[in-house]
């Protein structure tokens, strides 16, 4: 029964224009990330060459090239931003549509006239969301590999492919958390747009407010893959920094930088794995909340479209 519900949901999502457009934007941005990475890298190298000539004219020593040790995967460093921006919104829309449609169309009422348990229903929905998001991540992986091949003119090594695979697996976890946020908000509100806005509010807090609170990152500055180190020596930050490990956006960004080998300092595999723990905890908590809410939800009432 879980598989039947999941299949029906996947088919339903494949017909949703909103989902197709958002997924299309994410894939387009994945391709663009490679182009942007190549363009900025190429420009920096040329700026450095010009700077050495300029400094030599003024009889000043040339500093070392800041891009000498850049790994080839750094071309995709923008993906670390696009996944939490576009990907997370896509995940919210997927999670939201998976439950909202059943409420407003009355399908939810119909389904529970059949011998379907609430746990099978929610498991089927979660499976469908997981499959759709996994397929999107696989598509992004293929586009990323193609972009790397086109820009570097050599195929990525096995180690690089493995790193990309781990990065997209982590990204899938990140998206699953937001898809579950979208599902939970549908279950706790009685109007469709209210659910969407509530999920968006959670996303705004996680992506922009929490990093400023724990690390002093300005909202717009946190959208750049490379950020200025912020002084967090104040007493305020000494307290809030303790919550940094719970800031899933920061943990995702830092873990991704380690996986793609674009971070300034390297960490052990265990340390990187620890960064994913809050995400796994969030998924567990939200999944349990969704299951509990579906069990108690009154499907005879339905939800308003407006």
């Amino acid at each position: 029964m879980i598989a039947v519900i999941a299949r029906q949901q996947v088919q339903s999502l494949a017909r949703q224009r909103v989902f197709l457009v958002t997924a299309g934007i994410l894939l387009l941005m994945t391709a663009l990330a490679g182009v942007i990475g190549w363009s900025s890298h190429d420009t920096i190298v040329r700026v450095y060459d010009q700077a050495t000539v300029y400094l030599a004219d003024q009889r000043l020593p040339a500093p070392p090239n800041p891009f000498d040790l850049k790994p080839s995967l750094s071309l995709l460093s923008n993906m670390v931003i696009y996944i939490p921006l576009i990907g997370a919104l896509l995940a919210i829309v997927v999670g939201y549509l998976s439950l909202a449609d059943d409420e407003t169309t009355g399908i939810g009422r119909l389904i529970f006239t059949r011998p379907v348990s609430r746990s099978s229903y929610v498991a089927g929905k979660a499976l469908a969301v997981g499959v759709v998001l996994a397929a999107t991540m696989v598509a992004c992986l293929v586009v990323s590999v193609a972009a790397l091949l086109a820009v570097n003119t050599v195929a990525p090594t096995a180690a690089e492919l493995a790193r990309l695979g781990v990065f997209y697996a982590l990204s899938w976890l990140y998206l699953m958390a937001f898809a579950l946020v979208g599902m939970v908000t549908v279950l706790v509100t009685n109007r469709r747009p209210l659910a969407l806005l509530a999920a968006l509010g959670v996303w705004l807090v996680v992506t922009f407010a929490l990093p400023e609170f724990t690390s002093g990152l300005h909202p717009v500055a946190s959208l750049n893959p490379i950020v200025d180190p912020v002084s967090t020596s104040q007493a305020f930050f000494r307290v809030t920094a303790k919550a940094r490990s719970l800031s899933v956006f920061e943990q995702y960004k830092n873990a991704s930088a380690q996986i793609l080998a674009t971070a300034m300092t390297s960490e052990t595999t265990g340390h990187v794995a620890l960064r994913a723990l809050p995400l796994v905890g969030a998924i567990g908590g939200l999944g349990a909340a969704a299951a509990g809410l579906v069990r108690r939800h009154d499907y005879s009432k339905g939800t308003s479209d407006v």
Binding site: A51, P66, A100, A209, H218
Partner: protein
């Protein structure tokens, strides 16, 4: 009096009550919009998120500023005690502490405005007040103007409250209150979010009015918001050579402002493309204007208010163009909006 003059006089006399009636209808719609907005829990909740984020942001910046100011005053008194006649002025600017507050207006403020636009249109559909309104002598233009005026008043209230909280935080926590010119700069800086958010209000209204299901309109408007506010500026920022290294590439290479200008002269086409990407985003014009007014960009700090306005004239024009275009589009959409709501799934 000539015949023409008599006719003109009669025309003015006849059109005066019509104009007054039109103004009254617009104000009535605006009042309704203002009251209805504050009754929406989702709108109030989003406004609360903005307020909390603003307070937290200014608090963090003000605490840092206070400690820096205390260090500077300590240094100054020590220098004066040891006989130093002239001490350099403090290198930090008070208004820069509002950077986070303005960035939240850029991001969350735009979402609030879109929500306001969505609520405004969907409320009339769900309450079935649209056919009722159209049965009265209210044109689509008056309807759009009234809604926009009311929404601008709501936005003005939110921005004024945010500004008051921010300035009080500066004074109470940062131990420094803005003076004459700074207040004028603040007034100008805080007028930009009103125009910026009003533009996004129009976007929310248009997308919702055009959609069969209001929730789809909301998603479309949020998609446009994502591209305009987050993606386009992010691409522009990422392509900026100076943003590729922490602390700035040109600083890392040991080059001053002149060195940066000299080297970038060899990248004219690249910079043109990058600037065009940024210019396509309303958010970037808002940011450039506000950052100049609040001393966030150090190169503008020594300029007078007149010079600042002259330099940032183009950003003001862009903000006005976007607002006017979306306002006109909103009027057109309201004119074509079917009075009887259509159903359908998202």
């Amino acid at each position: 009096m000539s015949d023409t003059a008599i006719l003109e006089h009669r025309h003015v006399a006849a059109s005066a009550p019509a104009t007054a009636g039109r103004g009254r209808r617009i104000v009535t719609m605006a009042r309704h919009e203002y009251r209805a907005a504050w009754r929406s829990r989702v709108f109030v909740a989003l406004t609360a998120v903005l307020s909390i984020a603003t307070i937290a942001s200014v608090y963090v910046a003000a605490v840092d500023y206070r400690s820096q100011l205390a260090d500077y005053l300590l240094y100054k008194s020590a220098a004066q005690a040891s006989g130093v006649a002239q001490v350099a002025p403090p290198p930090f600017a008070l208004l820069t502490l509002l950077r986070g507050a303005f960035e939240y207006l850029e991001i969350i403020g735009a979402v609030i405005a879109i929500t306001l636009g969505y609520l405004s249109v969907s409320r009339e559909r769900v309450n079935r007040t649209l056919p009722l309104l159209r049965s009265r002598p209210l044109s689509a233009g008056e309807h759009a103007a009234g809604n926009l005026l009311g929404a601008t008043a709501v936005i003005g209230t939110i921005v004024a409250a945010t500004a008051t909280v921010a300035v009080v935080c500066l004074g109470v926590i940062g131990h420094d209150w803005p003076g004459g010119v700074q207040i004028a700069k603040l007034l100008l800086a805080y007028s930009a979010p009103v125009v910026y958010m009003a533009t996004f209000y129009c976007l929310g209204s248009i997308a919702t009015a055009k959609a069969k299901v209001p929730a789809t309109g909301l998603m479309v408007a949020l998609g446009v918001w994502l591209i305009v506010v987050l993606i386009l500026p992010q691409i522009g920022d990422t392509l900026d050579a100076d943003n590729q290294v922490p602390g700035g590439l040109f600083a890392a290479l040991g080059l001053g402002h002149q060195g940066e200008v000299d080297i970038l002269a060899n990248f004219v086409t690249y910079e043109k493309v990058r600037t065009a990407i940024e210019a396509a985003s309303l958010e970037k014009h808002f940011e450039r204007f506000v950052f100049a007014m609040t001393d966030i960009k150090a190169r503008y700090r020594d300029l007078s208010l007149g010079q600042l306005l002259d330099i940032k004239r183009i950003e003001v024009i862009w903000l006005a163009v976007y607002a006017s275009a979306l306002g006109a589009w909103m009027r057109r959409t309201f004119n074509r909006q079917p009075t009887i709501p259509r159903g359908g799934r998202s």
